[in-house]
């Protein structure tokens, strides 16, 4: 009998082979599945960060301290352009995932690059807007409204910036190693991250910009 626990003494009952099944491979069952669920839970915790920032903006968003308000500062055309950039980047990332599912490395890289360019376009819009606001004297320390605004929109833009960095890193990985399972898993995580940021942006442009413009 070669199957016996190493510590079994002479008093151990003889066991049949059916009882002894060692699930040594348990750790490798469903590779990536736990990663995606864990990443989703991370995104939900990120969602709570944004909820706190939204609640702050909701509470102090009308406290202008005799300074400029949303209607004086925001440009709806620029916001529409930012929204279009992010929406286009969402569908191009979707196309990248479809190319990945078909195993087309070149097409995946191309769509990822297009996604990255749209992401940079969005960041450019945000940078232009922030620069414009600061030159007008609407700095974060001007009023509670501006503090909350810069924190909320800045946090979102920071997320997009890190998403863009992550995108470039993954493109390098795909170029070097191809669409191996590890890279597919990473691309799926970034897909969740990227679409999640678009969902946050829906709340931002609706609540901060559009509703801020209302008299």
């Amino acid at each position: 009998m070669s199957i016996q626990a190493p510590h079994a003494g002479p008093l151990a009952e003889p066991v049949s082979q059916e009882d002894l099944v060692f699930y040594t491979a348990d750790h490798h069952v469903n590779p990536g599945s736990g990663t995606l669920l864990g990443f989703w839970i991370y995104l939900m915790s990120d969602c709570l960060i944004f909820a706190v920032l939204f609640a702050t903006y909701g509470v102090v968003g009308r406290n202008y301290a005799a300074g400029p308000g949303p209607a004086d500062l925001f440009d709806l055309n620029l916001v529409a352009l930012s929204t279009a950039m992010l929406l286009f980047s969402s569908i191009t990332y979707g196309f990248a995932m479809l190319s990945m599912a078909r195993g087309r490395k070149g097409a995946t890289l191309l769509w990822l690059a297009v996604t990255g360019l749209f992401g940079l376009g969005f960041l450019g819009c945000t940078a232009y807007e922030f620069n414009h606001l600061i030159h007008e004297g609407a700095v974060p320390s001007r009023s509670a409204f501006l503090s909350a605004f810069f924190t909320l929109v800045g946090t979102h833009a920071l997320h997009v910036a890190f998403g863009a960095i992550w995108l470039v890193v993954l493109m390098v990985q795909v170029v070097q190693r191809g669409l191996v399972p590890e890279n597919r898993r990473r691309l799926m995580c970034l897909s969740l991250f990227w679409h999640f940021l678009d969902v946050i942006w829906i709340a931002v442009f609706s609540y901060v910009y559009l509703m801020g413009m209302l008299p």
Binding site: Q17, W40, V59, L98, M100, S206, M211
Partner: protein, 132 residues
Amino acid sequence: MSAQPHAAAAHHDHGHAHDDVEDGAHGSLKGYVAGFLLSVVLTAIPFWLVGGDVLGSSRLTAFAVMGFAVVQIVVHMIFFLHMNTHSEAGWNMLALVFTAVLVVIMLAGSLWVMYHLNTNMMPGMHDMRQMP
């Protein structure tokens, strides 16, 4: 040694079942295009409502904008994030619902408490907001 085939077979079964799930997680071209077109419409209407001052009433426009935002978030969740009740055996959805409950409590609670803060101030201090 003889235990290996069992474990290997179990491993293979799990792996195969997982592949089937993953294939559905990528979505389809039709799904992405449908989600994109819906998003464009659901974005354009609130911008038009606010930019053109179509409804006349601020309160009505605000409710409409919030309504379109909620619908668009649901559209993104379904078509882009591929949320459904059977991915990851429902744990994704459970985490989402739990987070949504927390977010609603946090937002509604904060706004409610802070909105009524002035009511509980000393008499004669109701106009705190207008103070410099």
